[in-house]
């Protein structure tokens, strides 16, 4: 079947352009850009709305195996489709952790039945316990895109160094969570006026920089391909810039929540704002937004972390951290666009092109020959978010009741429509 998207505003993160145009899709691939509609093509009139590559959301927690009541593959996939996410790159911090080829095969099989693409990262150490490395080679052969222990920092530096050395040998990508484990232990907030007034256990923002510096020293020593999952402080950004200038094979991401919220949003101990790492100061947030615009932060992710009501209905410091984000990533990103300073093409560079490139995936581009993973959205459509309307099984979003702009009108994976009605 041939699909022709006409009258669209094409967001091209490779060319960094945002211009009117059209796009033709055949057999699941983009076959032409800005051509006339071919004979017999089904026409999708975009009515001037934005057409962009589908989002590649790197760092999504799906509760399979172990916590399906929080999020199943199915519910995650439906939420993703509704949020314009065409590729989920899932985390291995499940119960049990995805740390063996057998468990990776299991989740890969479950993933293949879903409407959006779901790919997995594997744990870096067995059980994410930081003691023994996983069978990295087997896992890589079985389709693991990268290796990470999630937010659990490998404290044993010697082991981490060996993991990196081994990974370099087989060309694997390691994803680190830059944080000094000792300093951040037990923290629920960032040190400063807010944490002090509200009496919350806190961690200095320097802990992120210290963790990053340790990891980068090992990256330099081993030559491994390395990605920082979330950079959330201005101090760490400067360290990252130096590492890049020194030529290390390093990329970095950040979370949409750290780009759009700050520590004071926690307000009266609202546990949906309890995240890992904790929300930062407004100065840090502004520095991050600037870094995204300049391309110094490569990737924006939702770090979708479903938690059930019970885990959040607790005093702030003992409530489970994390927020869902698959469906709110796009409208939250529109806040950055509407506030100015970050264009749509720059946002899509961070939300689709860069993660796809770094993970060696096909999508993330509007180029001829690329898979037809697309999202059609209206960046201006206003709405008030109702958390119970989310498709995710868990409803823990910090944007509950928030005024947002940006609605997904349609999502296509390999040219198949997975979200939205017949018309744009």
């Amino acid at each position: 079947m041939i699909l022709h998207f006409q009258n669209a505003r094409l967001i091209d993160p490779e060319a960094l352009t945002d211009e009117p145009g059209s796009l033709t899709v055949q057999d699941g691939l983009i076959v032409s850009v800005d051509d006339d509609a071919p004979e017999g093509a089904r026409i999708v009139d975009c009515a001037g709305r934005c057409l962009a590559p589908g989002i590649v959301d790197w760092g999504v927690k799906i509760g399979e195996p172990g916590e399906r009541h929080k999020e199943s593959m199915r519910s995650a996939a439906l939420a993703a489709a509704a949020g314009g996410v065409t590729t989920i790159v899932a985390r291995p911090d499940t119960k049990p952790a995805i740390d063996a080829p057998e468990s990776l095969e299991f989740v890969t099989r479950r993933a293949s039945e879903q409407p959006v693409r779901i790919r997995h990262q594997a744990a870096l150490t067995r059980g994410r316990e930081g003691r023994e490395m996983v069978e990295m080679g087997f896992l890589q052969d079985a389709g693991a895109l990268a290796f990470t222990d999630g937010v659990r920092v490998v404290e044993n530096t010697k082991l981490l160094s060996r993991c990196m050395t081994y990974a370099r040998g087989i060309g694997a990508l390691i994803v680190g969570h830059p944080q000094d484990a000792g300093l951040s232990k037990g923290a629920a907030a960032t040190s400063g006026k807010f944490a002090s007034l509200y009496g919350l256990p806190s961690v200095t923002p320097l802990a992120e920089r210290m963790g990053l510096e340790r990891d980068l020293a090992l990256v330099e020593a081993t030559g491994v391909r390395w990605h920082a999952d979330q950079i959330t402080t201005a101090g760490a950004l400067a360290v990252l810039d130096r590492a890049r200038a020194a030529g290390l094979d390093v990329t970095a991401g950040t979370s949409i929540h750290h780009l759009t919220l700050n520590e004071f949003d926690v307000g009266d101990y609202r546990t949906f704002f309890r995240l890992t790492p904790p929300l930062r100061s407004e100065d840090d947030r502004l520095a991050l937004v600037e870094a995204v615009a300049e391309g110094r932060i490569d990737v924006i992710g939702s770090f979708h972390t479903p938690q059930d009501e019970e885990a959040k209905r607790l005093p702030f410091e003992v409530a489970a951290p994390g927020a869902v984000g698959l469906e709110t990533l796009l409208p939250a990103a529109m806040r950055l666009y509407h506030q100015g300073g970050v264009g749509l093409a720059q946002l899509w560079r961070a939300m689709s092109l860069n993660p796809a490139k770094r993970l060696e995936l096909e999508g993330g581009r509007l180029a001829i020959g690329a898979p037809a993973d697309l999202v059609l959205f209206d960046p201006d459509a206003p709405f008030i978010l109702d958390r119970f309307a989310l498709r995710s099984k868990s409803k823990n979003t910090p944007f509950d009741g928030a005024r947002m702009e940006g609605r997904v009108l349609g999502t296509w994976v390999e040219g198949r429509r997975v979200f939205g009605g017949e018309d744009a």
């Binding site: 002090s196 009496g199 005093p315």
Partner: protein, 322 residues
């Protein structure tokens, strides 16, 4: 009425006129408490539950006595050991209690913000008797009353709060209340026990006890928790006492008529020299305990008035619509 709050979750929510109203009412209860017959009827017929998730003898008995003197039916629940162990959550406990139709719920909890969370789930007036490192509003109010009686005013005083500021809800509540009443607040203690970003909170920070106490009108000592004494935050008990413990020499740097306060229970020889604590010319520590009962009576009285007004309005409203 100038006191409008439904709950007392912290001093943060109180305005200076509300604080004054409350302290004025507490004064009248000080007089009542000194009589042989100590009964009022402000809480007649109301049920007060003291819900303590953390052990406390002093605060709990103070609240119990305050309630009983005003005629409330008082029940104490120590939850520290029982239901929490059985896996019941804070909210379940709150809902269970709520179903028993209490009017006043006095809550202490080891986690900051827990009392706010609980207050959202119940229909009665909630009084924070200390939540984690966040607030302990009745302590700040009783301290304010003690200061006002000893100094004749509650403004333009220099108050030095000394010791473990970082882990102290008493320090936070006092800092906020004394700031609202336009006093000069100094925080004095070792840097390891000072919260981050404290400079932005409108106070002066001193690591040197001598400088911090210079010309102070009020010296407020804080308790140093036993588990923080060895190595983690300070090297040792004796080094702490040497540098930050209140003794006669250090107190001599404050104003000659400076008063000494302590929220109790005291570690004599750790944060305060025993002879100073007992010096009736300087120490108002026993007055603090006495004011505690009066302030808690005033708090519960005012909250009960608001509760009755709210229920009365609701009943009247129901009447018109039926």
């Amino acid at each position: 009425m100038t006191f409008r709050a439904r709950h007392l979750l912290g001093v943060e929510q109180l305005s200076p006129p509300e604080i004054t109203t409350l302290l004025d009412l507490a004064e009248s209860y000080v007089a009542l408490n000194r009589r042989t017959v100590k009964h009022g009827d402000a809480l007649e017929g109301l049920t007060q539950i003291n819900l303590f998730f953390e052990n406390s003898t002093r605060t709990q008995s103070s609240f119990e006595l305050a309630g009983k003197r005003l005629g409330a039916d008082v029940m104490n629940m120590a939850v520290a050991q029982s239901s929490v162990k059985k896996g019941e959550t804070l909210i379940d406990t709150a809902l269970t209690l709520n179903a028993m139709q209490p009017d006043l719920l006095v809550v202490r909890h080891p986690h900051s913000g827990a009392v706010n969370l609980l207050a959202e789930k119940v229909n009665c007036a909630v009084i924070n008797a200390g939540d984690g490192r966040h607030e302990h509003p009745t302590q700040a109010l009783l301290d304010a009353l003690t200061i006002r009686r000893a100094k004749g005013r509650l403004h333009r005083l220099t108050v030095a709060i000394c010791g473990d500021i970082a882990h102290s809800r008493v320090a936070r509540s006092n800092l906020i209340l004394l700031g609202k009443m336009e006093n000069r607040v100094r925080l004095v203690g070792p840097a390891t026990l000072m919260p981050s970003g404290v400079g932005e909170l409108g106070c002066e920070v001193y690591e040197d006890m001598a400088e911090g106490l210079k010309d102070a009108d009020v010296v407020m000592m804080l308790r140093l928790q036993k588990e923080r004494m060895d190595g983690g935050f300070i090297p040792s008990e004796r080094e702490y006492f040497h540098r930050w413990g209140l003794d006669a020499a250090k107190l001599a740097l404050a104003k000659p008529d400076a008063i000494v306060m302590h929220p109790g229970p005291m570690n004599r020889g750790v944060e305060i020299d025993g002879t100073i604590a007992d010096d009736i010319n300087r120490s108002v520590i026993q007055d603090q305990v006495e004011m505690g009962v009066a302030v808690r009576m005033a708090v519960m009285d005012l909250l009960a008035r608001n509760l009755r007004a709210e229920r009365g309005a609701k009943a009247a409203g129901e009447g018109t619509y039926v």
